[in-house]
């Protein structure tokens, strides 16, 4: 599990139901309250120009991850985010350890 592994691991949460009005910057800012955010990946749809409504947030510490998971509800601009422990690694990055957990 990402949480237990040491080293350069990023502690990730998967966030869905992100309202269209916010983008990477806002999401990152929101999650900063739980710990230092190392990554924020919010994919946009090239066909529509809207983002896809979900993103990955990587914290630098497990503490940040746990803080984020403990908080409920997550509200950003009046919309309720769904935040869960990431089950899938960032696309493009290999992580066998995590793959086993799926």
């Amino acid at each position: 599990m990402a949480a237990t592994a040491a080293g350069k691991k990023v502690f990730e949460v998967f966030v869905s139901k992100v309202p269209w009005t916010v983008a990477t910057k806002e999401v990152k800012e929101y999650f900063r309250q739980f710990g230092q955010v190392k990554k924020c990946l919010l994919p946009f749809d090239k066909e529509t120009g809207f983002h896809r409504g979900f993103c990955w947030i990587g914290f630098t510490t497990e503490e940040g991850l746990q803080n984020a998971l403990q908080k409920d509800p997550h509200i950003i601009e009046g919309a309720r985010l769904q935040v869960q422990k990431n089950r899938k690694p960032f696309s493009g990055r290999k992580s066998n350890k995590e793959a086993e957990d799926i």
Binding site: W20, T21, A23, F44, E47, T48, E77, R80, S91, G92
Partner: protein
């Protein structure tokens, strides 16, 4: 399907649309003209479905194993459209187009698909402007024609309907010419709609011409025509004549209906005459005519279109918010917006926001989204939209209306650009944040078209609104539109757009990277080394982005859906084929029962043929029904039955001493059949005297009860019931039916007391659970004597006591007929309280229908809030069909036209089924006409039924009959099905036991996929299914086929096959199977499978000697075989209570033991005895074959297996028996310890301890696992362990034991 099939009545923009509901007229006078055929006489109910419940026998004809692809597609398209209509009351243009293209792609659009599409081009598209709708319908019409769809009059009528609904001006004469040239005869509906078209433009002269046509053709002038004329005169400016139409109607014997008044209301609305509107509404109310909310919405629409929107609130107030109000009101809003009346639409919206449900996706309010979206799509002025947004926000209905509208505007692209920027400006003014990515959808759009001016304009807007563009925006959306980064830079500069230098450089880097321009990247990065990292980061992000936005799932969803639809429809078919088999059997039973003896004899050949036919069709008859048929036939086969009975009685006296209980039972039954209660009772008593334990079977008991109660011997009858309970005689459904019959006999005699006593006894003894059928005789008893008060009291009694409410329909009908309002009121209150108001209303409705009180019935069904209950409607329909009552059924169909969620096709299908029963083609044709009037797209089954009726009467079928064409093809739905879905489907079908369908699918697959064959798994399932059905030949064939195809049968499949062969006594095929399977080698089969089952096959053939010989030689010939068990054979023989065989086998076991020192057979038998609790036999065997006790391995295995598989008591007991039989056999004693210590008994420390002490005293060495367990028990009890605890884990010793055992013996068979 209901929602779609229901006539779409919202916002019929013109009065012409009022044409459609002929069914609404009080059709008593019209009916006289239209439907002259009276209800036929009731025939014997042989072919009639009398059972309520879903019996869609016509929907899926089970004899056609596979339905046509078109039918499937129709259902699929219908389901898609329907779910949309059901949820929203509308269809979106996108959905309609998608279905249109899908239907086209298959290349064979059917007639009813065409109808379905055309039907959806009118008022079901409130979001689409009228002109566009017409364009769409024309496009569909032309395209389908091109693809070879044959249009009949129903299509022309549907096209006319779209013209009318979409206010399309056309020349009716041209239309008629067009029909003529296509050689399609116009019908009444056509003329009606043409009249409507003339009236629409106020052309009374034109309407009169058509009216003349109709008269000359002797077509009835219906309410719809008059309704159009109201509009026509009004539009011609002659309000007096318009109003006068109502009295003309009355003069013609037609009462003005709701639609007539609606026409009137609409013309007043067009004039803005609110006083007249109010007056008319009052008249309507006083006339007890019901206008639906939808009707009033039309008035709202008419008012608004004629710019009298100031009166809208007054109409809105009149609405009752009945079921389906919200979607209807939403559609009204959408239509108003489409027609440019968004202000009025907004006031309507505000009137029902309280009824809207907030979406679950958001915590904050977001009411009115549909409204804002449509405003954005329709490109409404921004200031209006901003006003709506402000209002919604201020009244707390929507938390972020501007953002939402912006999203819609951005999604709308084509039209949204200006609006989006304007909306953002408003947002900025409101102090809402604007973010760079709000512009992305715009840029995406421009980028796709390489629209550089657009891009620059959007950039300027960004700059103007003070939104900083970022690297992402430039690299992803802006730079790619330009041929080069340099040209971009120039253009930007020229357009006066300031760009942060660094951002542009970073963006350039990314763009070069994403273009794969490594050289460019390199040179750039050299120049701007500092930005390199960010450039690569951009590249990386770009790649990730591509991964995320990869191919859509749409194709997969699509495939999945279509397979689902297919499987769904197959399931229905499986269901209906089951139903069908049951019906056939029951039909057969009734048929034979209704024939008298001579008829049976004379028709013997035919009956036999029919049996043969059924067998060929693989329709099996359930056992109960089979028995019933057999009984009847048996009783008939004997000539001169009465003589025989006498003779039998004689025989009895003659051989009294030799009479067995079975002979008595037969005689008693014979007496019962011949209604001889005295003799039957005498025999029964005699039997009881002789053998007090003897019990009759349930059927004979009930027959006895019946005959006894019939002859007033109630107490004796009740004694019989009690005896049944004492002797634990189980009642089956068919016997329970006989009990009902028994009580019904009493009911006919008005003997309520007898019924009550029988009922009470049956239920308190628990012989049968209270059911509606069993409870009905009591009510019937009172109804028979027209004692309604008594019937009601009995109903209350039965409901309170048994929670059943039988015969309620008959009771209410009786009360309605009698006019006993007071009691009726009581019954209704009772019903309402017990089953709810809705059910009560349906009960009352059906009673009114049944008794011909249609006016009252209509009032009931129009109760606001009432919705369709398909099962209840079906119940009544089936009842009418069974009794061939056309009038009530027809009235039901007419009255339910406006009923919420009523499946119209179902309704017409019922009607046609009755037409089919009575072979009434005129009525069938009239029904078809009505379907067109209602603008219904019927299902294929309905069209086929209609065509059937017409063909049977040598009438021309005026439409293309959807034939059962080629079944699903690999290219249906425009895709190629791989073998996998077929295989899955086949497996699913097999798993549900439906071999026929599975094989049908297999044939299709074979036809379409070269070299298709079933997978291993499917074939294995097939073998098992075939064995289950006792199709042993086929099963063998499947096995052979598998082996030829190099497939591997599973152990289970082979085992089942061999066992199946054994139960048929087919030892030869077992041998063959053995030979076949031997070649495989790879599967693990018990070596005993074939030996044991061959032996069983011999036993089945009563060739016990061969079985004994086989088993004996098996053990004698090879001492190794000692390891193989034949307990399977013993168990089967024991289970079958086959004493003779058991004797021989046990003799064999002894022989083997004592003469050949082969102990296995005896040991197996011994253990089986123990296992099945036959202690005495076990003991006896042990005395004769002492050596059995020496078989430690087998015994040990037995004890271990018992531990594993049996509950501790059942295990413990045989072991104890065993132990106490041979207390001297020390070696075996530990057998009893291990299980006792490891199962439930281990909680009992004291006995465990006692056991251990005894073991020590007797010198039994316990194994390590036992010691380990024992140690645990000691420790748990807090005592010191009196021995050294084995050091390893439980698992270790368990494995060790297992290993030892498996080395010393092979597992026993089965």
């Amino acid at each position: 399907m209901a929602a779609l099939l229901r006539s779409a009545r919202l916002l019929k923009c013109s009065p012409a649309a009022l044409l459609q509901v002929f069914g609404n007229s009080r059709h008593v006078p019209a009916a006289g003209r239209l439907y002259s055929e009276a209800v036929g006489t009731t025939r014997a109910g042989l072919c009639v479905q009398t059972v309520p419940g879903r019996l869609n026998v016509n929907r899926y004809n089970p004899s056609v194993a596979v339905r046509s692809k078109q039918a499937q597609q129709f259902d699929w398209a219908l389901a898609k459209l329907d779910s949309s209509v059901r949820r929203t009351g509308r269809v979106t243009k996108t959905l309609l187009l998608r279905i249109f293209h899908d239907i086209c792609r298959t290349g064979y659009p059917s007639g009813n698909q065409a109808l379905l599409l055309l039907r959806s081009c009118g008022s079901l598209l409130p979001e689409v402007p009228l002109a566009e709708r017409i364009e769409l319908s024309q496009q569909i019409w032309d395209k389908l024609q091109e693809l070879g769809t044959t249009y009949d009059v129903s299509h022309y009528n549907a096209l006319l309907k779209t013209y009318l609904q979409n206010e399309f001006r056309f020349s009716p004469t041209d239309f008629l010419t067009k029909m003529e040239s296509a050689n399609v005869q116009p019908n009444r509906v056509t003329y009606q709609r043409l009249i409507a078209a003339y009236c629409e433009v106020g052309d009374i002269e034109g309407a009169s011409t058509i009216l003349g046509f109709m008269k000359s053709k002797d077509l009835p002038i219906t309410e719809a025509v008059f309704n159009s004329l109201v509009t026509g005169h009004a539009r011609a400016g002659d309000m007096d004549s318009a109003e006068g139409i109502l009295s003309v109607m009355k003069g013609a014997g037609i009462e003005p209906g709701p639609d007539t008044y609606l026409s009137l209301l609409n013309v007043y609305a067009e004039k803005g005459d609110i006083a007249k509107i109010k007056q008319t509404l009052e008249t309507v109310e006083n006339a007890d005519i019901l206008l639906m909310d939808r009707d009033l919405m039309q008035v709202v629409f008419s008012l608004t279109k004629a710019s009298h929107q100031q009166h809208v609130p007054e109409i809105v107030e009149h609405m009752r918010h009945e079921r389906g109000y919200v979607p209807d009101a939403m559609n009204l809003c959408l239509s108003l917006i489409t027609h440019g009346h968004e202000e009025t639409a907004f006031s309507v919206l505000k009137s029902f926001t309280g009824l809207l449900v907030e979406s679950q996706t958001s915590d904050s309010p977001d009411l009115g989204n549909f409204f804002l979206r449509h405003c954005a799509n329709m490109d409404k002025p921004v200031e209006n939209i901003v006003g709506f947004c402000k209002d919604l926000k201020d009244s707390g209905l929507h938390s972020s209306p501007l953002q939402f509208t912006l999203q819609c505007a951005l999604e709308a692209k084509k039209t949204g650009e200006c609006m989006a920027v304007e909306l953002m400006r408003s947002m900025k003014e409101e102090g809402l944040p604007l973010r760079p990515h709000y512009f992305c959808p715009l840029f995406t759009h421009y980028q796709k078209d390489k629209n550089i001016p657009g891009t620059l304009q959007a950039l300027r807007a960004m700059q103007e609104l003070g939104v900083a563009s970022d690297v992402d925006t430039f690299s992803i959306y802006i730079l790619p539109s330009f041929p080069s980064v340099d040209s971009a830079r120039t253009s930007l500069k020229e357009a006066g757009i300031d760009v942060d230098g660094n951002i542009l450089i970073a963006a350039e880097l990314r763009t070069e990277a994403s273009r794969g321009n490594l050289a460019g990247l390199f040179s750039l990065s050299n120049a701007f080394r500092a930005s390199l990292i960010s450039g690569f980061r951009g590249l990386f992000a770009g790649l990730q982005y591509f991964c995320c936005s990869g191919p859509t799932e749409a194709p997969f969803v699509y495939l999945y859906d279509s397979i689902n639809v297919f499987i769904e429809s197959r399931k229905c078919q499986i269901g209906s084929s089951l139903l069908f088999a049951e019906n056939v059997a029951y039909f057969l039973y009734n048929l034979i029962d209704s024939l008298n003896e001579t008829e049976v004899h004379s028709k013997e050949e035919q009956i036999r043929e029919y049996f043969g036919l059924l067998k060929n069709m693989n329709i099996s008859i359930s056992l109960n029904i089979f028995r019933g048929i057999r009984n009847i036939l048996e009783s008939y086969q004997v000539p001169e039955l009465v003589k025989k009975l006498e003779r039998a009685l004689e025989l009895k006296t003659q051989y009294e001493t030799d009479m067995t209980p079975a002979a008595y039972a037969t005689l008693i039954n014979l007496c019962c059949r011949h209604d001889n209660a005295e003799e039957a009772l005498k025999l029964k008593m005699e039997l009881a005297r002789k053998d007090s334990d003897a019990a009759l079977d349930a059927q004979k008991y009930v027959a006895l009860v019946r005959v006894l109660s019939k002859h007033g011997k109630l107490e004796e009858a009740i004694d019989m019931l009690k005896e049944m309970k004492e002797k634990d005689v189980q009642l089956r459904d068919s016997t329970i039916g006989l009990l009902t019959l028994t009580m019904n006999t009493a009911a006919m005699k008005g003997d309520a007391n007898t019924i009550r006593r029988l009922q009470e006894t049956i239920f308190t003894l628990g012989l049968a659970k209270p059911s509606s059928n069993l409870c009905s005789p009591l009510i019937a008893c009172y109804l028979e004597s027209e004692n309604y008060a008594g019937a009601f009291d009995a109903t209350v009694e039965v409901q309170k006591q048994y929670n059943q409410m039988p015969k309620i329909h008959d009771l209410i009908c009786g009360l309605v007929e009698k006019g006993d309002a007071e009691l009726l009121q009581k019954v209704m209150e009772f019903l309402s309280q017990e089953r709810g108001e809705m059910m009560m209303l349906y009960d009352l409705y059906f009673a009114f229908l049944q008794t011909g009180r249609y006016k009252e019935a209509r009032k009931i069904i129009e109760t606001p809030g009432l919705r369709a209950r398909p099962t209840r409607l079906q119940w009544f329909a089936e009842k009418c069909i069974a009794a061939q009552q056309m009038e009530p059924l027809e009235n039901m169909v007419d009255m339910t036209v406006k009923l919420f969620e009523c499946d119209r096709d179902d309704m017409y299908h019922y009607l046609l089924r009755l037409c089919k029963e009575t072979n009434d083609w005129q009525k069938a044709e009239a029904t078809w006409m009505k379907m067109q009037e209602e603008n219904l797209a019927p299902r294929e089954r309905t069209l086929r039924l209609l065509a059937d009726i017409l063909k049977n009467n040598d009438k021309e079928v005026p439409f293309e009959v959807p034939e059962v064409k080629e079944p699903i093809r690999s290219d249906s739905m425009g895709m190629v099905l791989s073998p996998a879905p077929y295989d899955t489907l086949i497996k699913t079908l097999l798993a549900s036991g439906n071999i026929e369908d599975a094989m049908a699918v297999k044939n299709i697959a074979t036809d379409h996929i070269p070299g298709f064959s079933l997978s291993d798994n499917a074939n294995n399932l097939l073998i098992i299914s075939q064995v289950k059905r006792c199709q042993m030949k086929d099963a063998m064939g499947t096995l052979k086929g598998m082996l030829q195809a190099d497939q591997v049968p599973t152990q289970l499949a082979i085992t089942r096959l061999v066992q199946g062969l054994a139960s048929e006594g087919n030892s030869q095929d077992i041998q063959e199977a053995e030979a076949l399977v031997k070649t495989l080698g790879s599967i693990k089969l018990s070596s005993m499978l074939f030996v044991n089952n061959t032996a069983l096959a011999h036993i089945k053939n009563e060739d016990i000697d061969s079985a004994v010989e086989l088993l004996e030689s098996f053990y004698i010939q090879n001492t190794e075989n000692q390891k193989s068990s034949i307990s399977f054979v013993f168990r089967k023989v024991l289970d079958a209570n086959n004493d003779a065989v058991l004797d021989k086998l046990s003799a064999m076991a002894e022989r083997l033991c004592n003469h050949f020192a082969s102990y296995r057979a005896a040991t197996d038998l011994f253990l089986i005895y123990l296992d099945t609790g036959r202690t005495e036999e076990a003991k006896f065997l042990l005395q004769r074959c002492a050596a059995v006790n020496e078989q430690k391995d087998t015994m040990g295995y037995f004890s271990q297996r018992s531990v594993r598989t049996l509950t501790h008591f059942s295990t413990w007991r045989p072991l104890q028996h065993y132990y106490f039989m041979r207390p001297d056999m020390c070696r075996m004693k530990y057998c009893m310890f291990s299980p006792s210590l490891s199962t439930g008994l281990d909680k009992d420390f004291s006995s465990a301890k006692a056991l251990y002490e005894r073991m020590q005293a007797e010198g039994v060495k316990a194994d390590e696992l036992t010691l380990k367990r024992l140690a645990l028990l000691y420790k748990e009890a807090g005592e010191t362990v009196p021995f050294e605890e084995p050091p390893e884990s439980f698992r270790f010793y368990a494995d060790k034991l297992n290993k030892q055992r498996s080395e010393s013996m092979e597992p026993a068979n089965n």
